[in-house]
């Protein structure tokens, strides 16, 4: 199972040369283990609504999820222990620097905004605002921002409302224009 790890380790700059450290590998490993632990617990909790035994007719509905949850929690503990054993080496390894974190957040938060705005504003307006904002913010100028946003809206409108007959969510603006 190495195909992904190969690419991510090969990527330069992950260790953040010159970038002020924010998150060590050790910290991220422990966060990861915690997330898995929580996931496992949730799965077990859900499985306990059902019979988790093994009857004459084989496993019951809760059996598989229950044991999956148990295995996930055990694996999470093992991963955390392994990480803590190598805590010195992993603690020195920086997986996220401050600049990198800022760049990532600056990319992630607008996506979250896009997702949050999609239902109240409609996807067309939300994507227009998102694209306009992103292109402006990266300094491509007003013209590029407008062209990108409008082109995306028009293309998707034609493609989804007419060709694919697969309407995307619309909001108050479309209703006002009588298009919703």
């Amino acid at each position: 199972m190495t195909q992904e790890s190969g690419t991510s380790q090969a990527g330069p700059g992950h260790a953040g040369g010159g970038d002020a450290p924010l998150l060590s590998r050790l910290a991220l490993e422990l966060i990861g283990a915690l997330v898995v632990l929580g996931f496992g617990a949730t799965v077990i909790w859900g499985a306990l609504e059902h019979d988790i035994g093994w009857g004459d007719d084989g496993p019951q509905p809760g059996t598989l999820p229950f044991w999956l949850g148990v295995i996930a929690m055990l694996a999470a503990v093992a991963i955390a222990v392994q990480a803590l054993r190598k805590s010195e080496a992993l603690g020195a390894q920086i997986v996220l620097g401050r600049t990198a974190a800022k760049q990532t957040a600056a990319f992630l938060l607008p996506i979250a905004a896009l997702v949050a705005l999609t239902v109240p504003l409609g996807l067309y307006l939300a994507m227009g605002i998102y694209l306009f904002g992103m292109v402006m913010w990266h300094g491509h100028g007003l013209k590029a921002a407008i062209v990108t946003a409008v082109a995306a809206i028009v293309f998707n409108w034609v493609a989804f409302e007419y060709w694919f007959l697969l309407p995307l969510p619309k909001g108050p603006i479309e209703a006002l224009l009588g298009l919703g």
Binding site: L165, L166, P167, G180
Partner: protein, 337 residues
């Protein structure tokens, strides 16, 4: 689950009464103003999907709606996805939900986010029949012989397949168990086609598929029906295989399995709380669809009984079936609500 003839008769009486009483003015005022979404509570290729798309094709051919129709499949959770989607679209007059009796049966056996009375009934347009099928080269010539073999052998080694669990197929299987007083093994699969192939391969001993689900297998000499769950034999058809046609298949009651009637309605619903004139408008459209030769051809080809129920008859049917099923499910220990 049984639709007694009396109840239906009463329902029909109601229907005529309602159609006379319905104020004509209310029906004509409303028209859809944007594309209507047909929400199909099954995956593509399923019986409900074919039902909805046939309605769509007839509406398109006769231009029965002034707007276009969009079909979307929401078959997750045995159709629960589609009904939940419909319930959440409260007051939306541009969504029709296509389903079966699972709209009122599923909430009894699974924790789902709607009550049978939530959605607005529009119409039921056809009733699908059920038959007991065996493998073509099975030693049991008739249903009676099959039941005799069940009695003589080890019933647990006799496997009846069906589509899904605690759904129409398993309900019927359990009713058969009660009718003959023997418990056999029920194996749930994903859908009717899969069950048909399992039978053709000899991995199960029988199933209760709808005629349309297994007619290809019958013609191809893989499986054959031994009895049909109807009060009387189906109308005679051209021979399907070896000179035997649908009219020659005995009813299950004739064969000593005392279930006189078991049918699955093909139903259309609107979201909750839509105005009455909207429901009336769609009921009228569905009635027009029902009256076309194409609908007749479709129901005949798929061996369904064409019978139209309006909203009131549907409510009567739902109340009656729900009460009957509740008692049965209580016995079987399936009830969750």
């Amino acid at each position: 689950m049984r639709l007694s003839a009396a109840a239906l008769g009463a329902a029909f009486g109601l229907a005529t009464a309602v159609s006379i009483a319905a104020p004509a003015a209310a029906q004509s005022t409303w028209r859809p103003s944007k594309p209507v979404e047909f929400v199909v509570s099954s995956g593509p290729g399923g019986g409900t999907d074919t039902f909805a798309r046939t309605v769509q094709s007839i509406i398109a051919k006769y231009e029965l709606l002034p707007v276009s129709v969009i079909v979307s499949n929401k078959g997750g959770g045995s159709g629960a996805e589609g009904f939940v989607y419909g319930r959440l679209a409260e007051r939306d007059p541009h969504k029709l939900i296509f389903g079966t009796n699972n709209e009122w049966l599923l909430p009894l056996v699974a924790k789902v986010a709607w009550k049978p009375s939530d959605l607005t009934p529009v119409a039921a347009m056809a009733f699908d029949e059920f038959a007991i099928w065996v493998k073509a080269d099975s030693p049991y010539k008739t249903a009676a012989e099959y039941v005799a073999a069940l009695r003589a052998g080890q019933p647990a080694e006799f496997r009846m397949g069906g589509s899904q669990s605690k759904d129409t197929d398993e309900i019927l299987a359990r009713m058969v168990e009660r009718a003959i007083g023997i418990r056999f093994t029920y194996v749930p699969f994903r859908g009717g086609a899969e069950v048909g192939v399992q039978l053709a391969g000899g991995h199960i001993h029988s199933n209760v598929n709808n005629p349309s689900e297994s007619i290809g297998g019958w013609r191809g000499g893989q499986v054959r029906p031994v009895c049909i769950f109807a009060p009387q034999r189906l109308p005679a058809t051209a021979p399907v295989r070896d000179g035997v046609g649908w009219g020659d298949i005995p009813t299950c009651a004739e064969q000593g399995i005392n279930i006189t009637e078991y049918r699955m309605p093909r139903t259309v619903f609107l979201p909750p709380r839509v105005p009455e004139n909207v429901a009336a408008y769609y009921a009228e459209v569905m009635k027009k669809v029902f009256d076309t030769p194409e609908w007749k051809e479709f129901t005949e080809r798929t061996l369904q009984t064409a019978r139209f129920l309006g909203a009131e008859e549907m409510r009567a049917l739902m109340t009656k079936e729900e009460a009957a099923s509740r008692a049965l499910f209580q016995d079987l220990g399936w009830l969750v609500n």
